[in-house]
């Protein structure tokens, strides 16, 4: 696909991932709807909280032929409420309930970084 036509990040006052909130139900949709979506008028774009908790995760072990190192993926539950999927960075193996914060990432758009105590 070409460059996404929806806004992923709000840059100021501090970076925040963006979602669409249904004006009737209040339900959050991530990523935010494109302005071109026929559903856009029934939603408003809102920033998401930055830190959430891991609901579940896996560590992917790519084929040895790929030479790629294992990496963690997971669902992160953010206040809102909303559940996002993404890369979990900062520690080799997450645990359910660990706190992670979203940060911009050039390759994936965003990743979650472990919030270490």
């Amino acid at each position: 696909m070409s460059e996404p036509s929806y806004p992923l990040w709000r840059n100021a006052p501090e970076p925040a991932l963006l979602a669409s909130r249904d004006l009737d139900s209040g339900e959050l949709v991530f990523p935010a709807l494109s302005a071109d979506s026929p559903l856009a008028q029934r939603h408003e774009i809102v920033p998401l909280a930055g830190v959430g908790e891991v609901y579940s995760f896996t560590v992917i072990h790519p084929s040895p032929k790929s030479g790629e190192a294992p990496y963690a993926l997971g669902y992160v539950d953010l206040p809102g409420p909303v559940r996002l999927f993404g890369r979990l960075c900062g520690q080799p193996r997450p645990a359910i309930g660990d706190r992670y914060a979203a940060r911009p990432d050039e390759r994936f758009g965003y990743v979650f970084e472990a919030v270490l105590a």
Binding site: S34, Y55, T58, I60, H61, L73, F108
Partner: protein, 381 residues
């Protein structure tokens, strides 16, 4: 309501079929199914062709040289539930008295993709974003596995035991791709794919296969008449923020519909072919299909009830884990296995005296839903 019968069925061996074109593979299953049903080609009034990745108008290509004389061919795609959806639609047309004899075919050649995981449907911002981060079906099931181990206090060996059971069944099935038994130690020691799922806990992705059934409105032939007692197809609801990923909601909903239509309860079912694309899936589906109460899936597995010789054998064919999962063919092949089981034709893997069988397929491939499509059928004699 009008009774709908499965007159006969057949499948090819599931495995690698290098150099065989899709029409050749599919025609093997079609001709055997017609022969099995005792139905002449001229009696078929419509063809439903289930396939996911084989391209446009595959059904017409497959039947072009079979002399079906221009009858309607419907190409059906519903991810892993494509084959079951084909049977569902065929039943609609038979109930509406549009036709009295039809053929449903499922076909897939995954070896043509060159291996790896099944691609997602990425014509969607959410699926594209998540796929870029690494969302693939093994990851989705692995996250269910992680949550299952966390909530249920179970171990990876409990997951692995599903593969051991189904490979034991598959060793008895000449149509299965994996025809050798395996051990708990081998399953756990096989290469980690998506923690906690090891290689032998994932259905083989390099597999081709075809299956076909002939359906009709009139009882025929000398064998026990197998009826389609009920047929449900449902779609996934949009995921909500705090969904329980262990409840297999879409599958439980399809099962409730199927049981209600048939007037059958889970305790009446004698044999099940379910969608064990990954070991964790079989455990979740025990509960979604009502074979076990919430929280009792592992206990049901370890009781031996779902193994051959048990109270309700699950995946006597070996399931997807042993047989392989050629997407479009899977749902139809499940029907063929249950047909053979209900007619006492399943050889060494026969479930003695089976009278009611259940098939279940649940297919994914997009982000933001539990799964895209689920189908449950009940068959009976």
């Amino acid at each position: 309501m009008q009774d709908i019968y499965i007159h006969g069925g057949a499948m090819t061996r599931f495995g690698k079929h290098p150099g065989v074109l899709a029409p050749e593979l599919a025609q093997q299953a079609i001709l055997k199914a017609l022969d099995d049903a005792g139905v002449a080609r001229g009696e078929i009034q419509a063809v439903y062709c289930a396939n996911v990745l084989g391209g446009m108008i595959l059904g017409q290509l497959i039947v072009r040289d079979l002399g079906f004389k221009g009858i309607p061919v419907y190409n059906v795609e519903n991810a892993c539930a494509s084959g079951a959806t084909g049977v569902h639609l065929a039943r609609h047309a038979l109930l509406a008295q549009q036709y009295d004899t039809v053929l449903v075919l499922g076909i897939e050649q995954l070896t043509a993709l060159g291996g790896g995981t099944i691609p997602l449907q990425r014509n969607d911002h959410k699926t594209e974003l998540y796929a870029k981060a690494g969302m693939v079906l093994p990851a989705v099931y692995a996250m269910r596995g992680t949550r299952f181990l966390h909530e249920r206090g179970t171990t990876p060996a409990d997951l692995a035991a599903v593969a051991v059971k189904n490979r034991r069944h598959g060793a008895l099935n000449e149509y299965a791709q994996q025809r050798s038994e395996t051990t708990l130690e081998e399953v756990l020691a096989s290469r980690m794919i998506a923690d906690p799922l090891t290689l032998l806990q994932c259905c083989p992705s390099q597999v081709d296969g075809a299956a076909a059934v002939v359906l009709g409105t009139r009882r025929r032939g000398a064998r026990k008449a197998v009826k389609v007692l009920s047929s449900a197809v449902v779609s996934g609801l949009r995921e909500e923020a705090r969904d329980d990923i262990l409840d297999a909601e879409i599958t439980a909903r399809a099962a409730r519909q199927a049981y209600e239509q048939a007037g059958v309860s889970p305790g009446d079912v004698n044999v099940v072919e379910l969608h064990d694309a990954f070991t964790i899936a079989e455990l979740l589906y025990y509960e979604a299909l009502g074979l076990a109460r919430h929280g009792d899936a592992v206990a049901l597995l370890h009781s031996g009830a779902t193994a051959l010789g048990g109270r309700v054998p699950v995946n006597p064919s070996g399931g997807l884990l042993a047989k392989g999962h050629p997407l479009g063919a899977t749902g139809v092949a499940q029907m063929v296995e249950i047909l053979w089981q209900l007619q006492g034709r399943a050889g060494a893997r026969q479930v003695p005296g089976a009278r009611i069988g259940l098939t279940q397929c649940t297919g994914g491939g997009i982000a933001g839903v539990d799964h895209a499509a689920s189908s449950v059928h009940l068959l009976g004699v």
